[in-house]
């Protein structure tokens, strides 16, 4: 799936990616920061959240997980919440990467990061993005257990 990267005027930088490929969150953060030449010396704070596939859920072992999404709407929704974050907080950059398709325990599901001059906006924007993503972005998890499979019905409350 393609990287949707937005470079806007007024210092608004948001990047969104939905990918079927495994990704290393720390490597991606490193690469993203390397690309932030315009923020050199301006970024005092970055808050990140990484969500990882656990090997059990509701007391059952989970062997694989299938993540379905609504192509088009997903990206549009993630763009919308990124824009809202820039409106609400004094931040410099945001990055959201979300995996879809089949994955295994310990695989990274999602990465959210917010860069800012100071830590308050960085933390608040990061938390906002992951909460909005979890509650509203059109993704659905299906777990394969030792016997059979099931759709996950609700997320853990934040």
């Amino acid at each position: 799936m393609k990287l949707r990267s937005f470079r806007r005027s007024l210092g608004v930088n948001m990047s969104i990616e939905v990918t079927t490929k495994p990704f290393n969150p720390w490597g991606r953060l490193q690469a993203h920061e390397t690309s932030l030449n315009t923020h050199f010396g301006k970024t005092g704070a970055v808050a990140t959240f990484v969500g990882t596939m656990r090997d059990s859920n509701e007391g059952d072992l989970v062997q694989t997980m299938w993540l379905e999404h609504y192509p088009g709407m997903t990206e549009k929704y993630l763009e919308k919440i990124s824009q809202t974050a820039f409106q609400r907080w004094n931040i410099l950059d945001t990055l959201i990467i979300h995996r879809v398709g089949e994955m295994h325990p310990n695989d990274t599901i999602v990465l959210v990061a917010a860069w800012a001059g100071h830590r308050g906006p960085a933390f608040e924007a990061c938390r906002y993005l992951i909460e909005e993503l979890k509650h509203h972005a059109p993704f659905w998890k299906r777990e394969t257990l030792v016997e059979g499979s099931r759709w996950v019905e609700t997320n853990t409350p934040g």
């Binding site: 969500g51 993540l67 379905e68 999404h69 609504y70 088009g72 709407m73 549009k76 979300h98 599901i109 999602v110 992951i130 993503l133 979890k134 509650h135 509203h136 972005a137 059109p138 993704f139 659905w140 998890k141 299906r142 759709w151 996950v152 019905e153 609700t154 997320n155």
Partner: protein, 77 residues
């Protein structure tokens, strides 16, 4: 003149298809789209609805060419 109706995740499995085309000859609400698409049942309250990639309420009116999606509560992240 048709609209596209999409279903996702567990709902897609229950309905038995991911997408269908519905002919429209008059304005329909999202609820009416559901009823026509899914054999006269009424729209279950827990389902979420989107028109043209944006969340809408079930009384939103749709027109030919629109893409309407029905899906269960989301579980990403």
């Amino acid at each position: 003149m048709t609209i596209t109706v999409k279903f996702f995740a567990s709902l897609r499995e229950q309905v038995g298809t991911s997408e269908l085309q519905l002919p429209v000859t008059q304005p329909l609400t999202v609820s009416q789209v559901w009823t026509q698409a899914c054999g006269n049942s009424s729209l279950p309250a827990h389902l979420l609805t989107a028109v043209n990639l944006e969340y809408v309420s079930c009384d939103t009116v749709v027109k030919a060419g629109d893409e309407i999606a029905f899906f269960p509560p989301v579980t990403g992240g």
